[in-house]
Structures are given as C-alpha cells and as structure tokens.
Amino acid sequence: MALILTFAEARDGRLRRASLEVVSEARRLAAALGASVETVLIGPGGEALAGELIAQGADRVRLFDDPALAAYATESYARALAQAIADTKPSVVLVPFTAMGKDVAPRVAARVGAGLASDCVALEVKDGRLQARRPMYAGKAYATVEWTGEPQMATLRPNVFPLGARDAARPVELVRASVDASARARVTATTATAQGRLPLSEAQIIVSGGRGLKGPENFHLVESLAEALGAAVGASRAVVDAGWVDHQLQVGQTGRTVSPSLYVACGISGAIQHLAGMSTARCIVAINKDPDAPIFKVADYGVLGDLFEILPRLTEAAKAHRSARG
C-alpha cells in the first residue's frame, strides 16, 4: 500500500498546529490515493504527543525519541527524516512550511533525491499523482506543479490547510526508530523574547496602534481590542521610537513583516515604512481621523473618526459577539 509520510514539529513538548494541519491534509489525500499515513516525530517525550497526531489522521507515528535529539539540530533531524524515508519508501512526503520545515525539507530532498515543492497552499490528486499549487511573485500568481519522480515532497504553508475532524478513538500505533544523533552544530541555549503575548508573525489577527493614540497611557485601548478579538498587538515605528511599547511589537520595514487575515490599524497614518510591513494582510481595517492618511489607500475598510470613541465600542462589540457565540 502506498504511504504518505509527514513530518511533525514539536517544540517545548507541544505540537505545532501546522503539524496537525499537515496530518489532516495527508489523511484527505490518503483517501484519494488509497494510502496510509505515517508521521515522523523527533525528540524525547514524543509518545505523549503521538495520540494527537493519530486522532488527527495518522495511522502510525514513527518516533525518534533519543534524548540526544531533544534540541533541534538541522543535521540530526534531517538525518532522521531521510532515514525514515529510506526505511518506509513513501510516495508522498509532507512537511510543514515552518522555520524548522524550511530548514529541514530542502536538505532531506537533496539527500533522498526527491523533488520539493515548497510553500504549497493546495494539493490535489490527479490520476494517482499529486499536483501542488504554490504562490509566486509574492502571491500575485499561482503555479501548479507536478513531480516527475518519487517521493513527491512538499512543504505546506501554515494556516492554510484546514484541520479535519478529530477521532480520538483511532488506535495508536507506534514505531520506534533511532538514528545517529550527532550534529556538528548544536543549540546551546535559546533565549525567549516573547512577552507572554501572541507572536506577531503567527497571528491571524493583528491590532496595531500608532501615534494617533496620543500617549502610552492610551495604548491599552489597542490591547483591549486585541484581547477581545484574540489578536496579537502591533505598533508603528513612531510609537516604538517614542518608547511606548517594545520594539518586538513593531510592524514595518525595520520591524516585523506580517500578513495576517485581518489587520486593524488604529491611529496609524500609513508611512511607507509601516506599509512595507503589513500591506500583504488579507484584510486591512484603518481607523483614523485624517481623511488624507495614506493608510486609507491600502485599507479594505476605512473608519474615519475618533479612535477614542471607536475603539471602546469596537471592543465591546467584539466581546458581545464572542459571548453570544459561547
């Protein structure tokens, strides 16, 4: 029987959502290909996470649980995945297009001689073979690609593929594997910079504040709306330079480049330096009292008015909507 092999990324004992998305997509394809799904999970303690992968659609989890593989190292992780491919001879290999996936996949593809389609946003089965859709020219065009050989290897863009229904009743099947865990470069320490907030680059919704807020004491208006929307908080450079918030929150040319589904710009005029970091957001809502503010030129929805009046009402509305939904 044909096999789809997926790569699951776990950090700090938790599976990344993108790993589950990849498993879900593999499950969907497996039906069309008449294949089974096996997921490679690297790192000690993977046993506890295997159930979640199975529930999401994997038939089997291949565990590399050598304690020496606790910290991510390009070399050893790539070796493990390559070995899994060599051992299982899958026809399809799917890897999430996360930082780790971006690092590992090309190396493994080269090692096993597979064609790699990176950053795919859709996969289809046609005549028993895979077809992938991937954006080009910063999303201005899409290319449909096919593989000429096997395994057909692809990295999948996070937050694009839906999670299928969970089935916790599926039987858990584990395969233990081991690999040479040595690496010439290893992580000696990781320093966390997050401040307990949702990281900007992964957020689906971002609410950003600018100088229109007049002072740091008013920044809570942005934070409240973000909380009500389950959004991450961003800021313009002016606000960061003025020391109202940390540089970590800066969206723009010299800060984070983000492309969330929804970007709410509050009191941000839309200087080029800011636009460069967020104009690829799927939907932009601008709240500003200056009708000439350039942010309105890129906004899908513009709210012309006083944000001190608008933000609290929007926050209330979002909260009400949330509680109504349960």
């Binding site: 910063a138 201005k140 200087a271 330096q273 350039p294």
Partner: protein, 692 residues
C-alpha cells in the same frame, strides 16, 4: 680645549646619524606599510596643476584649518615656525659638527660667516621672533588641553600633549643658547647687550650680563647641548607618533580623491572571490596614507552626526584604528566584540568604546550615514572614512551575511522587486494616476528633454509621491518636455551599495543602464539626491553616462527664465528653513539652487547654523533609513531641533529620505501640527497660478 671640540664634533655627528637614521628607517617602514595597500581604482595623478594648487592652498594657505580661527593661527605659527626655525636647527647641528675646526685654529660653521650683515640680522630676528611665537603658541595649545579643553580634543592624547612639551623644551633651550650667544657677540662687537633684532634673546642675555665671558661661554655650551639633544630626541621621537602628519599631509593633499570619495574600491565580481575589506591591507593605499596624514585634530568628530548623537562612531578613531592595525597587523579590522553599553567603563566619556583599539567595532561601522561631513571638515583632505566603513560592511554583508537583521527586508525588496520597501514594479505608476504622465516606452523613439526618474520613494512612498505630483504639475505649467520609465524603473541601488551589498547595487545598476540604453533623452531629472549621485556619478562604471539634474536645479532655472506662472498673492509670511541633503550639497555641490528657488518664490528663509556643505545629516543616508537606530539620540531628532531653533514654521527638503526623517522628527518633538515639512517642489506648486 681643542680635544673637547673634536669630541663635541664627533658626538654631534654620531647622535645626528642615530637620530636621523632612526627617522629614516621609521619613514621607510611607514612608506612600505602604506604601499602594502591595494592599488585602488582611481587615477590620483591627473591634473597636476590643480593638485599642486590644492596642496598649496590647504597647507601653506591653511584654507581649511583657518575655519577654526584660533586653532588656525596656532597651526600657522607651528607650520611656518617649523620652516623658519628649521634653518636655525640646521645651523646648530652644523656648528656642532664643525666645532673641531677650533682645534685647527678655525671657527665652527655659522650662517653669520656666510651672510652679509643685513641678512644675518634678519636671520637672527626671524629665529628670535618665531621661537618666541612657537613658545607662546605651544603654551596656549597646552593650556587649552588642561583648561577648557575643546570637545574635539577628547579623549586626551598623550601624543598630542607630549609634542607640545617637546616644543616648549626645544625653544626654552633655544633661548638658553641664543641668549649667551647674543651676549658674547655683542660684547665682541662692543655693542649694548640689547639687540633690536632679537628682543627675546636680549632679555635672556640681560640675565647673564653679570658674568664674565668665559662663564657665559660655558653657559652657551650648556645651552647648545641641551638644545641639540632635545632637537635630536625630537627628530627620533616624531616618526613614531601621529605627528608624521608633518610628512604625510603633503602627499595626502596632492593625491586627493575627486570622484569616488566615500566609496570603497570597485569589485569585479567575475574575478574576485573575496568581497569587501576584512584585513587592513585590503584598503587602497590612499586610505592608508590618510591614516598617517591625520594629526587627530578632531574636526571630523565634531561634525559627525553619529558622534554628535552619542553613537560610538568617531571618524578620527577609524583613522587611528586603521593606522594602529596597519602597524601591528594582527587582527582583522572589524571587531564584533560584545559591548554591554550599560556596564560602567565600557563607554568612555567621549562616547567611544574603551576596549576597542586598532579595530573598528560593528556599532561604529553601522552608525555611519556616509554623509561625508567628516570629509568636508578635514583640513588635509582625508576622504576615506565613509569608504573604509562601507568596505567593511561589504565584507560583513557579502562574505559573512552579518548585518543588522532589519536590513533583510530592504535587501530582499531590492533584490526581488528593485524597491527597498518590497513594492513591486506594477505599483510604480500609481503615483501618477490622473496626471497623464507620458511613458518613455510610448514615445515611439522620440527624444525627450527630461527623463523623469521617479525613484522608489517617489513612486511608492505616499508622502514622496506628493513631491513628484507637485513637480509634474510644475513641469506641465512650464511646458517642459518629459516622460518617465514607469514600471521599467528599478531602485538606483544606493541603499544597497551604502549598506555594503555591492552585488545588489551592481545588479540594479546594470539593469537600469540596460533599460535606459534604447531610450533617447537629453537629461535625467530626479527628486532624490541619492538617485542623482548614483545615476550621475556611479553608473559610469556600469556603462551609463548621463547628465542628471536635481529638481531644485531645474526649478531654479525655470523660475529664473520666468517659465513658471506664479501667483504672488499666494505668497505667505511663513518662515522657511532649508535642510541640505548631504548627497545634494556635499556630494554634488548643489547647495545654491534650493536657496535660489526659495528666493524666487518669495518666501522668507532662515539658515540653520550647520548648512550648505556644512549641513548636518538627517540620519537616513548610508542606507540607515532602513535600519533601526538603537544607540544614543536619534539623528533626525537632533536635526529637527536645529531646524526648530531657527523659528521656521516650514522645513524645506529636497530629498524623500530627509522628508521621512524630518517629518518623523517633528512628530517626535510633538510639533507636527505647527511645523510642516515640505519639498521644494511642493512649495513652488503651492504658488502656481491657478488656471482660469
């Protein structure tokens, strides 16, 4: 006695040989070190006449030194004193070496025996006067260093102080020799002790009048030895110090760079595998010569916007680093040492880093805005500092991939979209919607007078778009024939080049040259001085030679010719101050047209203290607009404060980067409601006569 004279001769000869031999060996070593640099890629020997006249006016004429008046006077005394008193020092040595003639009934060498009486008196007068002047000057110079030290003389330099002590010793002993000499001479001639030609020596002589001639002779001998020894010690000491300025300033002035100052040598990507500068000997020899021509006067530090706002960069220290590194050749020229700025003792009083000597620290080299204020300020035409720093950036960026993380976005945008903000070519004509701007590609081969080079900011920055929109309205009102490239245009590459990404610059330059080649146009018109500089001066090496005009220049010409229909009633009383873009005023000699424009549209303008060629950068140059500014005060805030100090309600600019920086500055100062930042083109367009 005779024996003693012979011994004296021998001793003077041997000591002179040692001192001057040492000096010669040192000079030879330094010359070899300088020659160890790369050949560089520019002709530095053309137009000998111009070079010689620059040499004379900057050295003997003190053209730059005299801008600081008191220091200029002191320097003139030291320089001319060196020449005039040198004649006397030679006499002392010759006298010492020929004193053995006494043993044979002769007399040692003196000029007096050569010169006619009048000339001898003039000679004595010159020595007396200059020695006294140098004594006074050295005393003042030392005093300055101990009391009320000017900021530019920080940190304290042992070298700088020691030489002044040397000068004091040299001319105190000079008078200990000249005083008794004069007394003996006057006694022999039966004249009064006081000589009008040598007033200071006469005062010293007066102190010895109570002694008999043999005693005075002994004192003279003591004075002679003291003076000769100090002088020879001085000669041996000099070549190990920064004072080799005395020797190397001359060739440095002669070999000034005309074209490529502020730039590292060209890179031939086809032939080289190592890019940029890592080791000191990878710098061009002229940049190494610069480091020896520097006497650490600190004028460059004073005008450096990075230094003025508390960054660790000091142009003078970069030169010293190059020199120290060259002399000891051990480490790479860049130091990436972790500097915890909050730890006491790490940051010195003058802002520099305590433990980084002979190496340029990352914080220093990324702080440079390539504004070239240091080049403008240098009295000996040292022009290598921005170029050296960009050379170091090249190595870090292209070999190591080490650069401030936020530059990634600019590099990526430039590489993939030809736009530092990452906006695609398809968006390059959005600014011109409704303006009916003709495209070059639609002219069917017709020659156009001006190819309007819109620039990335002009095309995609909402604020800078307004500048180009205003300009187009003026061009149309004045009936100027122009067209643009539209989506065919790419960034000129200046931000990439200045950030050290020469490869991307070369790519963009070749691409733009290829785009321009089939089109026919007389001149290129730009609203961005960085485009002006790249297209006008730096594209030649990629095969593009164009006449490029900054819009301030065209506006001034059109206004002078009366071609712009103005409505004078619109003239308001607003006070305007013009902020000079570095790449316009300094790099392209364009300080006057903007002022001409302001005059001709009838606005009242006021100058900032630092303006024209001495302008203060907005902080955006050198690609810094695409970087964060993490250390010290923000440069744009400093410059905005300078602009606000004039009382102006409008800050006029002629560069989209300056526009961003000055606008951000007014926002940071919270005056953006009352003080506006406008481009020259906008100020002119506001006064256009409305069509009936």
């Amino acid at each position: 006695m005779a024996m003693l004279a012979v011994v004296q001769s021998l001793l003077v000869a041997v000591l002179s040989a040692i001192a001057f031999g040492f000096m010669f060996l040192q000079l030879r070593r330094l010359a070899r070190l300088i020659k160890s640099g790369t050949p560089g890629d520019e002709v530095l020997t053309d137009t000998p006449g111009e070079r010689a006249s620059k040499l004379v006016s900057f050295s003997l004429g003190h053209r730059k030194v005299k801008e600081d008046r008191s220091a200029g006077i002191l320097h003139a005394i030291f320089l001319y004193g060196f020449f005039v008193l040198g004649i006397g020092h030679l006499e002392v040595l010759l006298e010492g070496m020929t004193s053995f003639l006494v043993a044979f009934g002769g007399r040692p060498f003196t000029y007096e025996r050569l010169f006619p009486a009048g000339l001898a008196a003039a000679y004595h007068a010159s020595q007396d006067g200059f020695a006294a002047a140098v004594l006074v000057a050295a005393t003042i110079a030392l005093g300055r260093r101990f009391a009320g030290r000017p900021a530019r003389l920080l940190p304290r330099s042992a070298d700088g102080e020691r030489i002044l002590w040397f000068l004091l010793a040299l001319y105190v002993t000079f008078f200990l020799l000249a005083g008794p000499s004069l007394l003996l001479r006057q006694r022999a001639a039966g004249a009064a002790t006081f000589s009008l030609a040598q007033p200071v020596s006469s005062l010293v002589a007066a102190a010895f009048t109570g002694f008999a001639s043999p005693a005075v002779g002994a004192m003279r001998a003591l004075g002679f030895w003291a003076h000769a020894l100090v002088f020879l010690g001085f000669a041996a000491y000099l070549p190990t110090t920064k004072h080799m300025h005395l020797v190397f300033a001359w060739p440095n002035l002669y070999f000034f760079r005309r074209e490529r100052y502020g730039l590292p040598p060209r890179i031939d990507f086809e032939k080289t595998e190592k890019f940029g500068v890592d080791r000191v000997e990878e710098l061009p020899w002229k940049s190494l010569l610069d480091s020896f021509a520097c006497t650490e006067c600190g004028r460059c530090n004073t005008v450096c916007p990075a230094h003025a706002t508390g960054k660790p960069l000091q142009p003078m220290k970069v030169l010293r680093d190059v020199k120290l590194n060259l002399k000891d050749h051990k480490a790479p020229l860049v130091s990436g040492a972790e500097i915890d700025r909050s730890r006491p003792g790490m940051v010195r009083a003058d802002g520099g880093y305590a433990r980084v000597e002979g190496q340029v620290h990352l914080d220093e080299l990324w702080a440079c805005t390539t504004c070239a204020a240091c080049v403008q300020a240098c009295p000996v035409l040292i022009d290598s500092v921005p170029g050296t720093l960009v050379g170091l950036r090249q190595n870090l960026v292209m070999m190591d991939g080490r650069f401030p993380q936020e530059a990634t976005n600019a590099f990526k945008g430039l590489e993939t979209k030809g736009n530092p903000w990452g906006l695609g070519p398809d968006r390059r004509m959005e600014w011109a919607e409704g303006l009916e701007v003709p495209l070059m590609s639609e002219l069917g081969g017709r020659e156009v007078e001006y190819l309007l080079w819109v620039g990335c900011a002009g095309a995609t920055d909402p604020r800078a778009r307004k500048t180009n929109q205003a300009l187009v309205r003026i061009l149309k009102a004045a009936g100027v024939d122009f067209a643009t490239l539209g989506s065919e245009e790419r960034c000129n590459g200046d931000p990439a080049r200045r950030l050290g990404n020469e490869y991307v610059f070369a790519q963009l330059a070749s691409e733009n040259v290829a785009t321009l080649t089939p089109y026919r146009f007389r001149k290129i018109l730009v609203t961005c001085p960085h485009c002006l500089n790249s297209l006008g001066k730096e594209y030649r090496e990629h095969g593009g030679s164009y006449t490029v005009v900054h819009h301030s220049q065209l506006l001034a010409e059109l206004l002078a010719a009366g071609r712009i229909p103005l409505e004078l009633a619109k003239t308001s009383d607003e006070l305007v101050t013009f902020h000079d873009p570095c790449y316009l005023a300094r790099y392209n000699d364009g300080a006057e047209p903007p002022r001409d424009v302001l005059d001709r549209i009838g606005v009242k303008s006021v100058e900032m203290a630092q303006s024209r060629k001495n302008g203060f950068c907005c902080g955006a140059g050198g690609g810094r607009i695409f970087l964060e500014e993490r250390i010290g005060k923000r440069v744009n805030v400093e410059r905005t404060e300078q602009a606000l100090a004039t009382g102006a309600k409008t800050v006029a600019v002629g560069c989209p980067f300056c526009m961003t920086m000055m606008t951000d500055g007014t926002k940071a100062k919270g005056v953006d409601e009352s003080v506006k930042v406008k481009d020259l083109a906008e100020l002119v367009a506001e006064r256009l006569r409305t069509q009936a």
